[in-house]
Symmetry: C2
Subunit: 245 residues, 2 copies
């Protein structure tokens, strides 16, 4: 196994950071790495908002559900879909995009582009010895976050990323077995593998909590999925000009 795969396999989310800001060079190096990811037909349909203003970080932390590590970290990025740039490009080219940006396909392209860029950013940060945590919580109050960052139409804040010098060690929680997510040639029945994973996760919690928790993955994930629905998302996405057709 090479050093890079070792880094990838060793990933864990970091939720407590030292009080030590990233340097401008680090901040930009991470953005450059993000930009180097693949992008659908060279469309580069994302923007990255870097939050250096402490007051803005405080507000974001409050909107994301009062997670301290949104405010206290080495730097905070917000990854956004961005097809606004392409409206401007069309104006520059003297062309009319018509309804083309309204299609679900374009929304998917922008979400995928933003996510590929973000994962490169995460790996770049970890390669420098920094820790990261994705913050989906900014979607709890996505409209307020969007207003706070003054995002125009066709720019949606997808998730944040807290980056910094790790101030705690966190355990590697076992992922689904490879056989549960990997299918050969066609989609296969994986119920057996999910049952096996339920036992793995239950044993993991049991050991870490000395018997206080023994919940299975299927229970945990069912509770999670019926929890934070963020029912406003479709209206917000459509109002921003995405996925209308």
């Amino acid at each position: 196994m090479n050093e890079i795969i070792e880094l990838l396999l060793n990933h864990r989310s970091i939720r407590k950071f030292e009080d030590k800001p990233l340097s401008k060079e680090q901040i930009e190096q991470i953005v450059r790495a993000a930009q180097a990811a693949s992008t659908s037909s060279f469309v580069q349909a994302y923007s990255i908002i870097g939050i250096s203003d402490p007051e803005k970080k405080r507000e974001l932390a409050a909107l994301a559900g009062n997670q301290a590590y949104v405010e206290h970290n080495g730097y905070f990025y917000v990854f956004c879909t961005d097809l606004n740039r392409h409206s401007i490009a069309a104006d520059m080219a003297g062309k009319d995009l018509g309804e083309s940006l309204d299609f679900m396909e374009k929304f998917m392209v922008a979400v995928i582009d933003a996510a590929l860029a973000a994962q490169n950013a995460a790996i770049a940060a970890e390669s420098m010895g920094l820790g990261i945590c994705y913050i989906g919580g900014i979607r709890n109050e996505i409209e307020k976050v969007s207003d706070l960052l003054k995002l125009p139409d066709r720019v949606i804040p997808l998730f944040g990323m807290a980056v910094g010098y790790p101030a705690h060690e966190s355990a590697l929680k076992p992922r689904l077995p490879l056989e549960a997510v990997f299918h050969e040639n066609e989609y296969e029945d994986k119920e057996e593998q999910l049952k096996e994973y339920d036992e793995t996760i239950s044993a993991y919690y049991n050991e870490r909590t000395k018997g206080k928790r023994t919940d299975r993955w299927s229970e945990q994930i069912t509770a999670m999925l019926t929890g934070k629905q963020r029912e406003h998302m479709k209206d917000f996405v459509n109002a921003k000009g995405y996925a209308k057709k």
Copy 2:
């Protein structure tokens, strides 16, 4: 700059591969790296279909617009959103998910999860000296691809990834300037940076084609965005049980 960031910055899509298959160990190592990416609340909402059957690769290549490298490569993966797994998990937990999987939020979670996993796979492959190319073309005929891979409800083929030993060198096409995608504290007007980029891209083509091509990014991207609309996407996504609410 460390070796890992160097690898990230050096990424380019590879569209011609040697006739040399990946080993089982390589195939699985890449999947394990994909699995190690962050996942929203541990939901792991994706599946990876590995295509080893040559006939299936031929069919996929035809459906993706006759790109030879979909058929001829070291291995071919299809990355899918997967919330079907979570219906099964709910049954295992004896719980009812109600309409919770119908929400746009859950679709976004699944698309992001699949994309983060895929980018880890891409980096793992490149770290082994392999090349990769994302294949959005499988969305041209997404319903037929879905049928070919026997994907159930709530499983959508997002994109393919051709992996293999590179049989050509490809140039690094300049990305948008950092200042065009990176905003500080709030969304900023980037028209100047886009104009600058137009000149960069025009000069790039001019040099590579000895003056035969001088198109600007804004022209190129406008043509692209009004081109492959894949207008069937919203109906397909909804029919698969996603983003209905």
